[in-house]
Subunit: 203 residues, 2 copies
DNA sequence: GCTACTATCGACAAAAATGTCAATAGAAGC
DNA sequence: GCTTCTATTGACATTTTTGTCGATAGTAGC
């Protein structure tokens, strides 16, 4: 008999192609948000997903393809998350405030802000075309016919997105750096936006 | 005689250790801002600096040390850039406005915003201690004794930094995405801050 | 000029990351 | 059960990236 007892041969999981890809992308997303883009190595992703790196290549072809698939998946999730927000009121100012909060939620949860920074740093911003369409839908479909000046509404959205991404990406670090409570960035940014919303020319 | 004429042996440059390190870090900084953190490979940095990669290792020991040296250098430059801004007026509101513009300049020029994103994504935010001290100096030395509420001033600084970093990092892409002129993010963000400054409780 | 020092280079080596492939093993259909 | 299909694996190969080392070549001091 051999000195080492042979371990019970672990049953090998066999997923559907879709489930396999999903498993890999979920692991990659966790790696991205927890350890940054440079952690998206083939071996690391495979280990995080609990499979061999050959399997990753079987499903995606290359690690670069894993990364682009992850970008597109996260962008889709982000857009869906933002579009899903449905304001429960008709008052324009309240709707704008609700939209701003939804925007901040979207960029503070998960790794959305890190995704944006990742795209920016790697110059992959061309993948954001679908975001453009989503924003246009919001501007045209939800704001324009409320009587507010469309240009002013667009400007408001622009600074709102800027602030939401800034808070999502830098908020925690900045709060810590200034000795402020962790929720201060979000609160202050939303206060600022509320004031701006209130000053919008009414319908 | 040989078929190929031997090229004139290019005279080999010999820099002082300080100049050599400076040359390497400048090349690395250009790489970072133009092609992102993942471009900071040993060979790429050496090529950008016009030297062999062995020389880079001679001066820094490892590519990781090049990166940390670059982080610290850029942080120092950023802090110096911000602290150097000297408002030419005594009016508190005008001073605040001037400070905001200086902040935006700092994060829009060079790769300061990209540096911040790089630090955030890699979890190297502990290197920002000197930034904390610089901010405290500004808050205590320049704002506090002007009669404005110190807490309000700090909050104002917080959102200003958030906006400045957001504009510096995402401004161009976001403007393009929304079909706005390239200077729209900066202009809108500064407008927003001006309004907030004006509403500060006077001395 | 000569020497000492060392920044620089290039060839080599090691390590890390990516990719290839044949064999294996679940699962579904028969 | 048997066959077919293919997701999965592990061993191997290739490429990329990083690091080592001895030799070379500027430069300063003499």
């Amino acid at each position: 008999m051999s000195i080492e007892a042979s371990p019970p041969p672990a049953r090998r999981a066999r997923r559907s192609p879709e489930a396999a890809r999903e498993n890999i992308l979920a692991a990659a997303e966790a790696l991205l948000t927890e350890r940054g883009p440079q952690a998206l190595k083939l071996t690391d992703v495979a280990a995080a997903a609990g499979i061999s790196h050959g399997t990753v290549l079987h499903h995606f072809g290359s690690i670069a393809d894993v990364q682009t698939a992850l970008m597109e998946r996260m962008i889709r999730q982000l857009v869906a998350h933002i579009l899903a927000a449905d304001p429960p009121t008709e008052d324009p100012a309240a709707k704008a405030d609700f939209g701003a909060r939804a925007l901040f939620d979207a960029f503070e949860s998960r790794g959305a802000a890190r995704l944006a920074a990742w795209l920016e740093l790697t110059g992959e911003t061309r993948r954001l075309t679908m975001v453009r369409e989503a924003v246009q839908e919001i501007v045209r479909g939800r704001l324009a016919h409320h009587g507010a000046d469309p240009a002013a509404a667009e400007d408001l959205i622009l600074v709102s997105v800027l602030l939401a991404m800034g808070v999502g990406l830098f908020g925690p670090t900045l709060a810590d750096l200034l000795g402020k409570p962790a929720d201060a960035p979000r609160r202050l940014a939303l206060d600022l936006l509320r004031r701006q919303i209130a000053s919008l020319p009414p319908a």
